[in-house]
Amino acid sequence: MSCRGIIGGKLLSVEEQAIRKEFQHRGLGVLSLYDVLQAEEGVQAAALVTRSSTAVRLLGNGFGTVSPDLAAIEPLHHRKHNQLVRHLTAVYAKHVGATPRHAPYVHDYYEDGLYGDPDPAVQLGCLPEVTNYPRNGVIAVALDRLPGV
């Protein structure tokens, strides 16, 4: 097995995006992602930790494959069938200091809570390990860069 096709490229880590509430859900997160993808040459994948479905979906604006797949009945199906998704998740787990065996979940990532009210994880009902535990996040990884982005 080999990950040679993507090793050597760059993995973009989206550490945090914050937009004032009155400007949220108006595409500024996507603009931010486009801007950084155009500025940083050679980015072939992206990853983040989140409790928000919006953040997971954000990655779909730049990449053709996103795990978890929130539109699927089995949202973690890419992990089962795509070695690169598992590999990137493991790399990113190391980056954020997560326990690899818990991947894609990151236990106690939000020790003092990132989010106030409302907790966006209510929209991640398909991932109860996140929804039911306010200190947990999930690693989202994205690959297969979309043409023109």
Binding site: M1, K10, V14, V36, K94, Y115
Partner: protein
Amino acid sequence: METIKPIHNITIRRTHDVLGYYATHAEELTSVGADAFGRQTADFEPHLAERFKKASLLQVVRHKRDVIGYALYNVLQGHHWRQTAVR
């Protein structure tokens, strides 16, 4: 159905001097982050300081002259990936 109104007069500025920018704009950035995540400013400040320490790229999003958002990124190079490469 809710209509999404386009926003005009948006600018995004990028800098790799993440800590330098934070040092001079901490109060403004904390206010933005606390509002974005529904937190109290005082509670959010330590979180933000830690995040800025760990990031290598900062975007500042302005509407006209006002800072309305920020984004923090890192870029992991290929050699980092190899450390955990699958055999």
